[in-house]
Assembly symmetry: C2
Homo-oligomer: 229 residues x 2
């Protein structure tokens, strides 16, 4: 076997391995979204359509897989948030747009939303997703005097707790307008950060880029569901 042939075989093997891992992560995300995390490994591998043995090539335990599944969802959202706020500089505007778009994702991407909500409060302190980005915005706002909060961690707990409570409320109350509620929470949070009330209103009710367009550009891997309403 020539070296080129061996290298191609190695590459194929790596690609197959990555595909198996991705299939396991997707299956775990589906189970998380459905609240079915106390399943056997066999059920997970069947859902992922991979061999039972291959599970342990990638994960030592089910918990490790579910952790990876949550981090992957959070990071998918995080990458999207970065892309969607690239043109902004004011930390108040960056935070508000991230928060407003996140609020709109709950109905447009219900599976991604439910995986993130299932991760619960640990989302706030995760290295991935909205949490670290919100902390970055809060700290930048404090450093530049844009925000007057005395303690960044306290402000992060409030914003993170609010993001989760909002997501749950949007699922639990399909009759509510998700955009209106989200924008109101974002406005309240900016005021809490120390942004003057009239500015908070202006920032949180300004036109947004079209969320569906942005999702199709930046989250191409998700099976895009139509919003229910």
């Amino acid at each position: 076997m020539s070296e080129a042939v061996a290298a191609a075989a190695r590459k194929r093997g790596e690609r197959r391995k990555a595909q198996t891992r991705a299939a396991l992560v997707r299956a775990a995300q589906q189970l998380l979204a459905e609240g079915r995390t106390s399943v056997a490994v066999l059920e997970i591998t069947e859902l992922a359509d991979v061999g039972m043995g291959s599970f342990y090539n990638h994960f030592a335990t089910k918990e490790e897989l579910f952790q990876a599944a949550v981090e992957s969802a959070l990071e998918l959202q995080g990458v999207a948030l970065d892309a969607w706020t690239r043109d902004l500089d004011d930390p108040a505007e960056v935070f508000a747009r991230s928060f407003r778009l996140t609020g709109r994702l709950h109905r447009i991407e219900p599976q991604l939303s439910r995986v993130i909500l299932a991760s619960g409060l640990s989302m706030i302190n995760s290295d991935f997703g909205l949490g670290p980005r919100a902390l970055r915005d809060i700290e930048k706002g404090r450093a530049t005097g844009r925000f007057t909060v005395r303690d960044a961690y306290s402000a992060l707990l409030i914003a993170g707790g609010a993001a989760l409570a909002l997501g749950q409320a949007i699922h639990d109350h399909p009759e509510r307008d998700d955009a209106d509620l989200t924008d109101q929470v974002a406005e309240d949070l900016l005021r809490m950060f120390g942004v003057p009330p009239d500015e908070a209103v202006a920032i949180c009710h300004s036109p947004l880029p079209d969320v569906l367009d942005m999702i199709h550009e930046t989250l191409p891997d998700l099976p895009h569901e139509q919003p229910a309403g």
Copy 2:
């Protein structure tokens, strides 16, 4: 059997029934606090030290028991909050004292705290505990002009999400001062409600009644653990 004897027997029967129910609820609270809710009914009745058959005299399903256990914990806290704020009239002060005392409960009453945290975001919309009391305070504050929030439900989501995130952070970071962090979050929330910053500071850093004394007066049924720190 005379009527008086029959009445006494009936009373004894009712008392025994109430004791069995209370033992089941306490066992469920212990399991919730330990995160062990996928146990068999037999394990619950053994932990409660009651007959397996008696379970179904009180609850149709395990879910029903766990629901009752959460509501009982929330209501225990709610009754305590009412007692602890009876002397206050200003909704900003009532909210702040309730929130500050709730924050201090996480370490002083870890089991009660973990049951409430396990109930997650449904705590916010429950008919029991901090949620409905916070909503009452927010609505009263809006009606009297004390608070300037535009939407009470949005403010409730933020305060409730913050209460949960704070509780989790207090458990996850034993090195942090729970009282300082709690008071800072309460201050931020009052500012978000529209209370002027200097007043929010004054209200949220004023002396509090001794929490341990108050707990021993109003929550006599709990096995009082000592704070870890």
